[in-house]
C-alpha cells in the first residue's frame, strides 16, 4: 500500500524523486531476460544493455566505462573504496579523514580501526566545514610511508560545504597515497570530472543513483585503472574481479537514464536551484532573525540546493515534526537506526556546541523543487518556530508538570 503526499518535499539530499523516464526504463528493462554473464544471445543482449548503461554513467562523471564498478548503492561503494584501498595498501595503517564525514565513512574507518588495526587520524574542519589543508599536510608529512589512504567528501551532505578535493589529492599524490572521494552528495549538483581528478591524484570516487532520480539500490565506485583494491565480495569475478555478483541490468539502465538527464540539465538546474535556495535563505532569515546559516555563505563553496540552519533554543526534531504536520518535509541531518535524531556530528566537527548541533535543520532542493515548495516552507516556519521554541530543548527540565 502506498500513500501519495501533497507535501512540499525539501529533503532531496536524503533521496530524490525518481525521474519518470528512469522509472519507465527500469520497468522496460526488467521485462528483458538474460544474465549479462551468459554466453547465449539473450545474455549478450543483457550485456549490451548493461555496458551501454555503464558508458552513460561513465560519461556523467568523466571516466572510462571500465572504471565504473556498479555496487548495491552508495554505502557499498564507500566501503569498497575505503576498505578495498586500505587492504591493498597493507601494511600501511594510517587513514586520514576529515571530521564531519558521512556515517558510511565514519563507521567504516572506525570498524577498520577496531578490527583491522587501522589508525584513524581525524583532520579538523574549519567553522565553515572545510578541511584544514595545513593539518592534512602536516599529518601526511609526519610519516608519508605509513598512510594507507586519504578519504573525504566532495561536498558535505549536511551543510553543503564543497571540499578542496584537488588540493587534497595533490598533497596525497606527492607521496603516492591514494585518495577516495565520497561524491554521493555532490553528484547531480556539481560537475564531476574523474579524469581530471585522477590526474590530480584521486584513485576512487563513490556515487549513488537515487540522489539524481535513479533507483535506490545501485551506486558505483569509479575506480581508476591503476588503483588496486581488495574486493569485499567474492564470487563470479564480475566487474574486474572487484565486485562479484550477477549484475543488475535494469537498475543500471535506469541509473543511466537519470545520469544522462542529470548531466544535460546540470548547468541550468544549478542556476535555478541557487535562486530558489537564496529565496529560502532570505525567507528563513526574515521569518526567524535568530536563525544561523551554516556552512559556506559563498555560493561557489556550497552545493546549490543546500540551505542549512540552526535555530537556537529549538530542537531540530520539534521543528521537523511541526513542519511535517504543516505539509513540509525537511531533515535534521542524520538519524540513527532507531529513528532518533542525533545531534549533528558535522556541526560538532565544525566546533559548534551540542545544543547547536541539536537545533539544526537541513533544507535541500532538487529537480522537482518549485517556488510553491519554498513558499509552503516559509509560510509554515514562523508558527512552527514559535511552537518549537515553546517546547524547549530535550535535556531541559520540564517546567509545568513537576
Amino acid at each position: 500500500m502506498s500513500v501519495q503526499f501533497d507535501h512540499a518535499y525539501l529533503d532531496h539530499a536524503a533521496t530524490a524523486p525518481m525521474l519518470p523516464a528512469a522509472i519507465t526504463a527500469y520497468a522496460e528493462a526488467m521485462t528483458v531476460v538474460g544474465n549479462p554473464a551468459s554466453i547465449h544471445s539473450q545474455g549478450q543482449n543483457a550485456k549490451r544493455m548493461l555496458e551501454e548503461a555503464r558508458e552513460r554513467v561513465a560519461a556523467s562523471v568523466g571516466c572510462d566505462p571500465i572504471e565504473v564498478v556498479f555496487t548495491g548503492g552508495g554505502t557499498e561503494a564507500v566501503n569498497l573504496g575505503i576498505k578495498g584501498l586500505y587492504w591493498a595498501r597493507a601494511p600501511r595503517t594510517r587513514i586520514l579523514v576529515p571530521g564531519g564525514e558521512h556515517h558510511a565513512t565514519v563507521d567504516t574507518v572506525e570498524w577498520l580501526a577496531q578490527r583491522e588495526g587501522a589508525i584513524v587520524q581525524w583532520i579538523p574542519l574549519d567553522a565553515l566545514g572545510r578541511i584544514d589543508l595545513a593539518a592534512l599536510a602536516a599529518a601526511i608529512e609526519s610519516n608519508p610511508a605509513d598512510v594507507a589512504l586519504v578519504t573525504l567528501l566532495a561536498a558535505n551532505n549536511e551543510v553543503g560545504t564543497v571540499q578542496p578535493v584537488e588540493q587534497v589529492a595533490a598533497l596525497a599524490a606527492a607521496h603516492g597515497i591514494p585518495v577516495h572521494v565520497d561524491a554521493i552528495s555532490a553528484y547531480g549538483h556539481l560537475p564531476i570530472d574523474f579524469a581530471a581528478l585522477h590526474a590530480q591524484g584521486v584513485s576512487a570516487l563513490s556515487i549513488s543513483a537515487h540522489k539524481i532520480g535513479g533507483p535506490v539500490g545501485i551506486g558505483a565506485l569509479v575506480l581508476s585503472r591503476t588503483a588496486a583494491v581488495v574486493p569485499l565480495i567474492h564470487g563470479g569475478g564480475q566487474q574486474r574481479q572487484v565486485r562479484s555478483g550477477t549484475q543488475d541490468v535494469a537498475a543500471a539502465v535506469s541509473f543511466a537514464v537519470a545520469a544522462t538527464a542529470m548531466t544535460a540539465e546540470l548547468p541550468g538546474e544549478n542556476r535555478r536551484l541557487r535562486v530558489l535556495r537564496d529565496t529560502v535563505i532570505a525567507g528563513v532569515r526574515d521569518a526567524v532573525p535568530s536563525a544561523v546559516y551554516n556552512g559556506d555563505p559563498d555560493p561557489a563553496g556550497r552545493l546549490p540546493g543546500n540551505a542549512h540552519f540552526t535555530f537556537p533554543g529549538c530542537e531540530g526534531d520539534s521543528l521537523l515534526f511541526l513542519l511535517d504536520v504543516a505539509g513540509v518535509s525537511v531533515s535534521t541531518g542524520s538519524a540513527c537506526q532507531a529513528g532518533i535524531p542525533e545531534p549533528s556530528h558535522v556541526l560538532r566537527a565544525m566546533g559548534r556546541t551540542e545544543a547547536e548541533a541539536r537545533s539544526a535543520l537541513r533544507i535541500t532542493l532538487g529537480r522537482t523543487s518549485t517556488h510553491a515548495d519554498v513558499d509552503a516552507l516559509l509560510r509554515a516556519l514562523p508558527t512552527a518556530w514559535a511552537q518549537a521554541i515553546g517546547a524547549g530543548m530535550a535535556d531541559s527540565a520540564p517546567r509545568a508538570y513537576t
Binding site: S318, A338, G339, I340, Q387, A388, A391, P398, R399
Partner: protein, 387 residues
Amino acid sequence: MSGGVDSAVAAARAVEAGHEVVGVHLALSRMPGTLRTGSRGCCTVEDSMDAQRAANIIGIPYYVWDFSERFKLDVVDDFIAEYAAGRTPNPCMRCNEKIKFAALLEKAIALGFDAVCTGHYASIVTDADGNRELHRASAWAKDQSYVLGVLTKEQLAHSMFPLGATPSKAEVRAEAAERGFSVANKPDSYDICFIPDGDTRGWLGERVPPATGDILDREGNKLGEHEGAVAFTVGQRKGLSIGTPAADGKPRFVLEVRPINNTVVVGPKEALAIKEIAGTTYTWAGLAPEHPEIEFACDVQIRAHADPEPAVAQVISVPADPTATPPVEAHTELRILPTEPLTGVAPGQTAVVYVGTRVLGQCTIDRTVSAVPVASVAATDSTTVDA
C-alpha cells in the same frame, strides 16, 4: 508507543474515538540495543520498529522523541541515588512522574497536542463538576493505577487511558490480533527497562562503590559486617552472612538500611510489621481533600502488585526541631496508619492512597514505624507480636 500491545491498542482506540492521534516512541537510551531479549518489551530498535508497524497499520504518523538525557537524570540517576540512600525506589513511577506525564506532556502541549494517551490500565472519571479523578481499571488483575498515583490534577487533565474499561489483557491481545498488530502475542515486560539482564543488584553494584559496614541487631549490637549496604533491601533474608545465630535460632531479616553510617539492621520477621508510614513528599491525584488534616478512612497500597489495605490517613504538621541531626524545619507530612500492620514496606517506596476505586493521592515513604517495639521483641522472645 513502546512497541508493546497495550499502547498499540490504546492508540487504535483513541483514533476510533475520533481523536487526531500521532504515535510517539520515547527514546530513553542513546545506545539502544538492536534486538529484544528476555522479558524486556521496550527500548530496543526492534521495539521501536514494532511501534512503528502498529502506527502504520492504524494509519497514524509516528515519531521517535529523544528523552534519553532526561531519563538518565530523572529516572536512572535517581534510581541509583535512592538505592545509595538506602531507599527502594520505583523507577516506572518516576518515569511516569518525570518523563511520560511531564517532559513528554510538556513538549506535546507546546507542539500543539492536547493530551498524552497511554496503554496503562487505569480509568479517568469526570465528576459532576467536571473534575477528573483517577480510578482503578475495571480489570483489577491488570490495574496500573498504582504507578499513575503520582499524577496531579494538571497532569490528569491532559491524560487518556483508553484501556481502563477493558475486562482483561486477553481481550486486548485478541483485539490486537484482530487489528492485525504483529505485537498481539508479544510477551509482557516485567523487568526494569534500563537493566538489560534483570540483575538489579549486580547492576547497582557496578554503580555504587562498595564499602564495608556493620550489620547490627535492633539493640545496636554488632553481628557482622557487610560489603556494601546497597546490596540489601528491607525484608531480605538471604545473603546476610552473619556468623553467630540468633538467640532464638530463628532467621533474621533486614529491617533497615542506614546509608548515613553504612549499617544494616537485622531482626526477627515479626519486626518487619509496620504500623505507621509517612512521607513529606505527597501529591493528590485530582482534587485534594477539603480537609486533609482531619483523619480520613482509606486503603493504602505500597507496591504495584500488593493488595490495598484498610487504613486511616491525614496530613499532619511537624514542628521545627533545630536540635535534631540533621535539623528539621517545620513541614507537613502525609501519615498513614494501616488497620493491620503491613509487611514489605521500605522507605523510598510509594504509598498510594485509595478511596474505593479512586486514587486519592500518594506519598514517597520517608519513615516507617515498626509495630513491634525493640524491647518487646527481646522480652517476648519474638514469639508473640505486640502490636
